[in-house]
Every structure is written in C-alpha cells, then in structure tokens.
C-alpha cells in the first residue's frame, strides 16, 4: 500500500450560515497528483486552505503527513509548499530578492538561483516583481512554493491566466516533483490540466465530492459523441442506440455508449443512400462531459 500524504475525512467548513465544504473526503498518496475540480464557489479554495491549515475545520479530520495542520502548523510548514491563488509578494522587491527572502524563511531553503533557473526566471532576477508579466509572477510563485523540495505541495489554480509556454513549464516542473515522490493537491479550472497531470481527479460540487476516480473511471459510462451534418433532403436516420439531438448550426449530435456499432450503422446507411456526411467526427467521453453532467445535476437539484 502506498503511504498517504494527505487524508481528509468528512471535512466541514462553514462561514457563518454558509457551508462551504460539506462532508468531503480526499486522499493523496506520496508521488501522486490529485486534481480538485469544481465550479466557482464549489469550495475548492476553502477546502485547500483548510488542508493547508489556514482555516479551521468545523468538523471532520485532516491529516497531512500524519499531522493536524490546524494544531501542528509550524511542524508541518517545513515539509509543505504552498502556492496560494494570489501571489502575495511585495511588488517593489526584485525577483531574486523575493526568492532569497523566502529561502531564508525555510529551514531547507535550497538555492534561490537554482529554483529561478528551473522556472526560467533567471534572466528576470533583477526586475521588480510588479514589472513581471502574469505568467512570470505565477512561475515565481511556484518557484517559491517548491524551495526546499517539499514533501507535500498545494497548488491553487497554478496556471490560471498563463500563456501556453508558462503552462507547459509549470507542468514539467510539477510532473518532475511528483516523479520524485512529492504529493501534490492542485485545484484548476482547466480540465486539460487535470487530464495531463492528475492520476486521480475529484470534482467538488456545493461542498461535496460529486465524482472521484482516475480519468478512465470518471469517463467510463459517459457516452461518446458522434457529430455530423446531414445534406438537405436526406431521409430519416436509421435506428441507432444513440440519443440523437441537434447541436450548433446543422450539427446532428448522437450520444452513444456503443460508438462502434452506431458508426457502422450510420455509415452503411449513408452509403446505401449515397449521402456524404459533412464534418463527421467522433469523440470519446471527456472530463468536460463529466463536468457538464455534474453541473447539470446541480441545475436539476436547484
């Protein structure tokens, strides 16, 4: 069994009457990256900050490396790296001054220059933080979070607003840390980020974990989609297992759990009628579909 770095059980956090996290469970093993997804206001940041020890849990238990982050915050901080949703740096300090300050605020601070190098910020070392681009500032943020090679890393929307190059660099660095055994818990709005990085994904909805599992587990049972356009005057479609609806423009959207069978039926039918199906494409069930389904359930419940 892999050793668990983060264990959250039945966590509840409320702000007055508003229950932000309402009975959430979560585990992250060493050398694993778990992505926490959810709509705005689903409770991601609150949950993350409670696990970090920034907020008090109203009920339930949180263990990070076997310690209680609420009560044993200081013992934990040396082993944990945190990247908040917003940086929290003084704009007047330079990149290097900021990294150097943070190096001295950690027991195993490591090398400020090396970490700037790693995040491709070495050429910006003498620039005041306020003059950095959004992507550079976010990379500085990550550089500081990973000073001293933490055992556990919390990343709150690490790539929001980043250009593709910054995002790729961030992914490489985070992926490298995970390979070296760091446990990472990350929130993100980018589904492709979760797909690319996470071994497991949890979708938070109104303070509860609505879905959890590996990518394969999450999309299992989610229909594949066949999309095409029918030429004018085409006869009625053959019987398909798919649920057929109209999409954007003239798109016909067939959602099916038997894409192979339906596709064969559809193509045989088109051949027989000498029809050309314009813009034909097939797409497997995606995280986006899972996400939309959760959002849809939310609307139905509301």
């Amino acid at each position: 069994m892999t050793e668990l770095a983060i264990e959250v059980h039945d966590l509840r956090v409320a702000y007055g009457d508003h229950v932000a996290v309402d009975g959430a469970d979560l585990t992250v093993a060493r050398g694993e990256l778990v992505a926490l997804l959810g709509t705005n206001g689903a409770g991601k940041t609150t949950m993350l900050e409670t696990i970090e020890g920034h907020r008090r849990a109203d009920a339930g238990s949180v263990r990070v490396l076997g310690l209680d982050p609420g009560r044993e915050r200081l013992r934990l901080l040396g082993r944990v790296g945190v990247m908040l949703q917003e940086s929290g740096f003084s704009g007047e300090l330079t990149t290097w001054e900021t990294a150097d300050l943070w190096r001295s605020l950690r027991r195993r601070g490591g090398d400020a220059d090396a970490v700037l190098e790693r995040l491709e910020l070495a050429h910006r070392r003498d620039v005041p933080v306020k003059q950095l681009s959004g992507g550079e500032r976010r990379r500085l943020d990550l550089a500081i979070a990973i000073l001293g090679e933490p055992e556990v890393l919390f990343l709150d929307e690490p790539t929001t607003g980043l250009d593709p190059q910054s995002r790729r660099r961030t992914w490489e660095v985070v992926g490298g840390l995970v390979e070296n055994g760091t446990a990472v818990l990350l929130t993100t709005h980018y589904l492709e980020e979760a797909e690319a990085l996470a071994s497991r994904i949890a979708i938070l909805d109104r303070g509860r974990i609505a879905r959890r599992g590996t990518m394969a587990e999450l999309v299992a049972g989610i229909a594949a989609t066949i999309v095409f356009q029918l030429p004018a005057g085409a006869p009625a479609l053959p019987p398909l297992t798919a649920q057929v609806t109209t999409g954007h423009g003239d798109d016909v959207v067939a959602e099916t759990t038997e894409p192979q069978q339906d596709l064969r039926t559809l193509l045989d039918w088109a051949d027989a009628h000498r029809l050309r199906l314009a813009r034909l494409r097939v797409r497997d069930g995606s995280l986006e579909d899972v996400f939309e389904r959760v959002a849809h359930e939310q609307e139905v419940a509301a």
């Binding site: 970090e52 740096f89 027991r107």
Partner: protein, 247 residues
C-alpha cells in the same frame, strides 16, 4: 517548535531587511523618516519657553511622542494594512516563521528607525542649546518602550483598517488622544502629574522622556503605564488580528 532557533532568528532578520528595503524604496516614507526629526526639533526648540516650567524635557517629550506616533504607530498601521491587502501576510504565514516573528520582522525596521530618529532629534535639541539629558538610559527606555507600545496599538488598529489609505483616518483618534494627553501632562510639573493624566495612552511616553531629560520625578508610574498599555493593546491585537483582507 515555536521557540527561538537559528532559522527563526535569521528568517526574522531577513524579513526585517527586506522591509527596510521596501521603506527605502518608498521615497516619500524615506524622506519623511529622515527629515521629520530635525524639522520638528527646529520647530519645537523655538518654542521651548511655551511649556512653562516643563523646560527642555517637555519639548523633547512631546517631540518623541509625536515622532513615535508618526513614524511607528501610523507607519506600522499603514505598512501592516498594505501587506495584508497585497496578501503578503497571508503568504508569509505559509513560511516557517512563527506568527509573532512575521509581525516582529515586519515592524522591527520601524522601531529601529524610531530609535535612530530619537537619537538624532535629541542631538539636534542639544545643538539648539538644550543641556544634556540627566538620565539618558531612561530616554532610551521611553523611545523603545514607546515604540513597542505604538507597534501593539498599530496591530490593534489594523483590525479596523481595511486598506493602507484608511490608516490615515483610523490612526487619527489615538493620535490626538495621545498628543492631548501629553500636552495635558507636561503642562504641570512632574511632581504634580496625576495618575489620570498618565493613564491617557501615550502621555506616559512624553512624561518618561521629560523625567529622563530634566532629571526630576519618579519614572516608575510612567514606565508602568507604558507596560500596561503595551500589554493591553498587544493582548487585544493577538485576539483580533486578521491575516487576510475581507471584512
């Protein structure tokens, strides 16, 4: 783990150094810090006769208090509100420094500057014709104790200060109370100062400085009041302090 170890000390110093850097880079703050004491010394020394029997001690007492209220109380309230607004405080809390060290490192440069400014202005007052202070160690105590009291009061004031700009307003009440109390106190000779006068927060700082300079009177009641107000404000700040913005 909350105790003093090498990393806590070096980390606090590193934080203090970077705060000093920030002060220096903010030209307005730096200029005020350097120019305020000599200007005040000049202004007050011209009116050294207007405080009756208080003599030079009264001038210096009022001057030190005013300086501490500006350079420590108002400056610390502004700085902490600003760092909180920039989320620097929240981020620093993810470092390995204990909370008291984060605030200590942040405020240490202001205290240090205040001591330097006080020494400067004392020197200037002497240059303008005042005699040397009778008990310089008490003068240092007034400055240091007063600076700590101002830090504690500033941390408490940040509770009602949503932004750095607001600090100009939220620091006003204590500013005037302290000055009014000090003027009230030094308007009578040291041996006629009542406990009520000394109990006005801030007036004890001016009185202790006057005693230090003039040499007459018992410093203990003034010292006690500085300790009491520092402890009260510190304890309240500890309970009410906010590390993040948001009302």
């Amino acid at each position: 783990m909350t105790g003093l170890d090498a990393m806590t000390v070096s980390g606090t110093l590193a934080l203090a150094r970077s705060e000093l850097r920030l002060l220096w880079r903010n030209r307005l703050v730096a200029a005020t810090a350097l120019l305020l004491p000599p200007l005040m010394a000049l202004g007050l020394s011209r009116s050294s006769d207007s405080f009756g029997d208080g003599g030079w001690g009264a001038v210096v007492g009022l001057q030190i208090l005013t300086m501490l209220m500006f350079a420590v109380y108002a400056a610390a309230t502004t700085a902490v509100a600003a760092r909180r607004g920039e989320l620097v405080l929240k981020r620093l809390r993810t470092s390995e420094l204990p909370e008291w060290a984060v605030l200590g490192g942040m405020l240490a440069p202001l205290v240090g500057l205040a001591v330097v400014q006080a020494l400067l202005s004392a020197a200037m007052v002497v240059a303008f014709g005042a005699p040397m202070p009778q008990r310089p160690e008490l003068l240092l105590l007034a400055v240091l104790g007063g600076a700590l009291m101002c830090c504690a009061a500033a941390l408490l004031t940040t509770r009602i200060t949503a932004s750095a700009e607001q600090a100009q307003v939220t620091t006003m009440p204590l500013f005037f109370i302290a000055l009014a109390g000090a003027i009230w106190t030094i308007s009578v000779p040291s041996d006629e100062v009542t406990p009520l006068m000394l109990a006005v927060p801030g007036s004890a700082i001016a009185e202790l400085a006057r005693i230090a300079w003039n040499g007459g009177g018992d410093p203990l009641p003034a010292i006690a009041m500085i300790v009491v107000w520092t402890a009260v404000a510190g304890e309240l700040a500890k309970r009410l302090f906010r590390w993040e913005p948001r009302a």
